[in-house]
């Protein structure tokens, strides 16, 4: 497969055109939003937690490139049934393996936007660790 076919393979386009778990949950137990300042991608993620802080439902909305929106859609499928604590330390590589495409550094930021926003939501609700993907930017967001 060429680079083009890989990056825009069927699975990515399917998640982009038919996002899973789409829509912000009302009410929710944790919610956050974030932006990628380089390209203006935006994602809002909200979750409902059950016993033992297990993620029972997760919903997202956003606007941005296919990579950012498809990756967030895939992420919502991945994290359901896991605890907030587990997701807070989830490695980005797990999501990137799911995406299964080679990414340049710029597009990598698109791919992990939703993961960072989800970790931020959990941090705000449960005090779990901040997303290391974002460095100090995440701390600034929390302080707002």
């Amino acid at each position: 497969m060429g680079e083009f076919d890989q990056l825009y393979r069927e699975l990515i386009l399917d998640h982009y055109k038919n996002p899973r778990n789409h829509g912000v949950l009302e009410p929710s137990d944790a919610q956050a939003e974030g932006q990628n300042p380089l390209c203006g991608d935006e994602v809002t993620v909200s979750v409902r937690l059950g016993d033992g802080d297990v993620i029972e439902e997760v919903g997202f909305e956003g606007r941005g490139c296919a990579i950012s929106q498809a990756a967030t859609s895939m992420l919502t499928d991945l994290v359901k049934g896991r605890t907030a604590q587990d997701v807070a330390v989830m490695e980005k590589d797990e999501l990137l393996e799911e995406l299964g495409i080679p990414l340049t550094p710029v597009r990598l930021k698109c791919a992990i936007l939703g993961l960072g926003v989800l970790k931020l939501a959990l941090h705000k609700a449960k005090g779990t660790p901040l997303p290391d993907e974002w460095g100090t930017a995440a701390r600034d967001l929390v302080l707002e």
């Binding site: 680079e3 825009y8 390209c39 490139c65 296919a66």
Partner: protein, 414 residues
Amino acid sequence: MAVRADKKLDAHRLRADFPIFEQTFHGKPLAFLDSAASSQKPRQMLEEMTAFYETSYANVHRGVYALAERATEALELARTKVQTLLNAPSAREVIFVRNATEAINLVAYAWGLSNLKPGDLVVVSELEHHSNFVPWQYVAHRTGAGFRMISLDDHGELRLEELDTIAADGDVKVVATGVVSNSLGTVNPVEALSTWAHEHGAIMVADGAQSAPHVKMDVRALGCDFVAISAHKMCGPSGVGALWGKAELLERMEPFLTGGHMIRAVGDDATTWGDLPHKFEAGTAPMAEAVGFGAAIDYLNEIGFDAIEEHEHELAGYALGKLSELPWVTSYGPPADRRAGIVSFNVDGVHPHDVAQILDFDGVAIRAGHHCCQPLMRKLGVAATNRASFYLYTIPDEIDRLVEGLHKVRRTFG
């Protein structure tokens, strides 16, 4: 703007001057449609910089040996080339800086911090690049001055009828706009804004970063007080730009950066400042870069600004015509006869990042994003746009490849 150049420009021939076009990207020749971000570099400019390093390099101004004098002459020759380019009254008024952003910050800090106070107004436009927006917003906040924007009409042109309403809110002290918009290609009425600014006792600051590469600039005709330009957008190297300012204003201003070279005498307790332009050139100058800047100006003069402007108008018209044939493409900004060689557009339902990425696979380089114009993006109601921008080496074939690529985008996301 009906420009008729004496001699037309031959972009196919000029491309041979630019080594970058000898490469392929993803196996395709490079279609470089991002010159508004930064232009490519002609061999003539690169060779002159290399020659300076190989034959004339030493630190300027203070050395008494022959080599240092030669380097100083080269730097000062570059300064006079910028002076001539801008039709500035004096080379003393030309200050070498890192880029247009630094030039604007120089004015915002060195003039703004001392002259702005609560009740004053700083007026910019909704079109501004962040480089001519954020420094003014910041200095307005620091000094307590108000900060106002001239809004845009549906063509992306300034609503000058708002000016008097804005002036009713306070004492207008600064009017700052670009000469040409980097996002839409809009050509702003700087002469009229200068007149209006001066009627209100304000200074007029023109960001020429996007106009200097493409049209003959004349600071006396523009009537402004300061002009900022960057070499890298006009075939010169990165790392150097120029601020032109009226001597009587520059002389009354505090320094911006302090340190070596900008001083007259350094006492234990206090320091006095050097003469123009040195007062604003602390530290070792970007010497080779300034020499390259001068060489780039020579290169552009050789081609002729009228020919460059006419070529870009033709390309903008060609591109807008092609894009208008695609019902799933929205383009922004004024009609081709009132804009520079910049075209911003969106493909229905496809984020600009994806558009730019798919085009890249075919060797077509465009910019996708907010173009450092977030206020404008809010106005347009979009997060980002695609932008194709043209220069003297752009050929219609590159625009055809852009359009082919957009069809591929459409097929992928259809």
